[in-house]
């Protein structure tokens, strides 16, 4: 039987605006408004991002763990192949470190005596936290990553993030239980450093796979393979963290970072007091 639809009935149930279309339109409108809000860097989205990451931690761990075990297995097999040669190198390194350790003990005692004489109070870092890399987008290597430490753990903006080899970045944005790390190699990263032997103070800026030297008049005065350490210039960073070494082998003098994010899935963060806070 044919159903007669009056114009009134048609107006009540228009074909264009059926349930699906209403839902689709609403979703598109929500997407656009969310897009505009995120472009304006609304604080809500920043918090939402870290809350989503925190919520997703168990899933992220469960996905990443099997690959981590597999990678460790592959590295173990690789190490087994070169165990004998590695042993020789490590023994030599061990001997050198023993000598350095003895020197360090001497400097530590001398430093203590001098501080006592000058009546100086040293403010060291309060604690070292260990976290895990949660998010590391493949398309943005050495740009930024997300770790599972945040405000609740005592982190602050500009806290240094490092692994067993050296510095890899600093805290850029904070969530409650996760935070974003600005990698050393990110072009927006500029940190104050000092060369260990030639004692030159300058800045290094990230440049994809290396670090560029900034604000140093005569970069030729740096020694090749010289170690570069962080300084506590302007009170924002902790001094003495290894950043990299000088590379004078090419036309341009650059700093090669020592630590890579792929060294370990785990990172450490130094949490300590700053004199001031400024957004870099």
């Amino acid at each position: 039987m044919a159903v007669y639809k009056s114009s009134f009935t048609r107006a009540l149930k228009p074909n264009v605006l059926n349930k699906y279309m209403i839902e689709m339109l609403c979703c598109i409108l929500i997407s656009i408004s969310v897009l505009i809000a995120s472009v304006q860097k609304n604080i809500f989205f920043q918090d939402l991002k870290y809350n989503v990451v925190s919520f997703s931690k168990p899933f992220i761990f469960s996905i990443a763990k099997p690959f981590e075990y597999f990678n460790n297995f592959l590295l173990y097999i690789d190490d087994l192949k070169s165990a004998h040669d590695q042993n020789k190198v490590l023994k030599k390194q061990n001997h050198e470190f023993r000598i350095l350790l003895n020197e360090k003990d001497f400097y530590e005692i001398e430093n203590h005596r001098l501080k006592k004489i000058l009546e100086l109070e040293s403010k060291d870092y309060t604690k070292k936290l260990v976290g895990r890399i949660l998010i590391d987008p493949y398309a943005r290597p050495n740009s930024s990553l997300t770790i599972d430490l945040g405000k609740k753990d005592g982190l602050k903006i500009n806290d240094i993030v490092f692994n067993e080899n050296g510095m890899i970045g600093r805290i850029e944005e904070l969530g409650e239980t996760s935070s974003k790390v600005l990698m050393l190699l990110n072009e927006n990263s500029v940190i104050p450093v000092i060369s260990k032997e030639s004692k030159k103070s300058f800045f290094v800026q990230g440049d994809v796979n290396q670090l560029k030297i900034k604000h140093l008049e005569n970069s030729g005065s740096l020694l090749n393979n010289e170690v570069i350490l962080t300084t506590d210039a302007a009170g924002y960073f902790k001094s003495g963290i290894i950043v990299g070494h000088v590379d004078k082998n090419n036309d341009e003098i650059i700093i090669q970072p020592i630590a890579k994010k792929s060294d370990s899935i785990y990172v450490s963060v130094l949490v300590y007091d700053f004199k001031d806070f400024v957004d870099w």
Partner: protein, 165 residues
């Protein structure tokens, strides 16, 4: 009952798995594992196979998840998914066709547009740097792996469609 719950929720977990997989750090011998745009491909193919499977609301959520984990700008991926879904619902021949090569070419064009818009907008608006080489590699791999993803989703969507019916 349990099988019912499992069958209903499996597609969603399947998609979320690949969204997270694309973003977790995975290294082999200190090198990053190359990850194509799997989550975009999976959702696109599922829309092609069965546009009724995911409601617009869920496509919005998937898109938000993708953007929240990967970029500073949230909403671009959702808009893409919604547009793709709408195109497919309007006419099934818009995205897929009987000739698989045509489907493949359409996917290549849409994924190219998506990747360009996504990274370009992130670069312009939030000044996010990215590696052109890696993005290009991911895009090529995504297009090359499309047949494999298609077969997987074809099997899955057929099974779940049968169950829904």
């Amino acid at each position: 009952m349990q099988y019912q719950i499992f069958s209903k929720s499996f597609p969603y977990f399947f998609v979320f798995f690949f969204i997270f997989f694309e973003n977790v750090p995975i290294h082999f011998f200190e090198e990053d594992l190359i990850k194509p745009f799997i989550s975009f491909s999976m959702i696109y193919i599922w829309i092609c196979q069965d546009s009724e499977k995911f409601r617009p609301f869920w496509l919005l959520i998937f898109g938000f998840f993708c953007d929240l984990l990967q970029s500073e700008i949230v909403g671009i991926t959702s808009i893409f998914f919604l547009i793709v879904c709408h195109l497919q619902k309007k006419s099934p021949d818009n995205l897929s066709s009987n000739d698989f090569k045509e489907t493949w070419i359409k996917f290549s064009i849409i994924s190219l547009v998506y990747v360009f818009v996504y990274y370009f907008s992130n670069y312009i608006i939030s000044n996010t740097s990215f590696s052109i080489g890696r993005v290009f590699t991911c895009l090529i791999l995504t297009i090359l792996f499309f047949p494999i993803f298609f077969i997987i989703i074809d099997k899955l969507s057929y099974r779940f469609k049968k169950f829904d019916e």
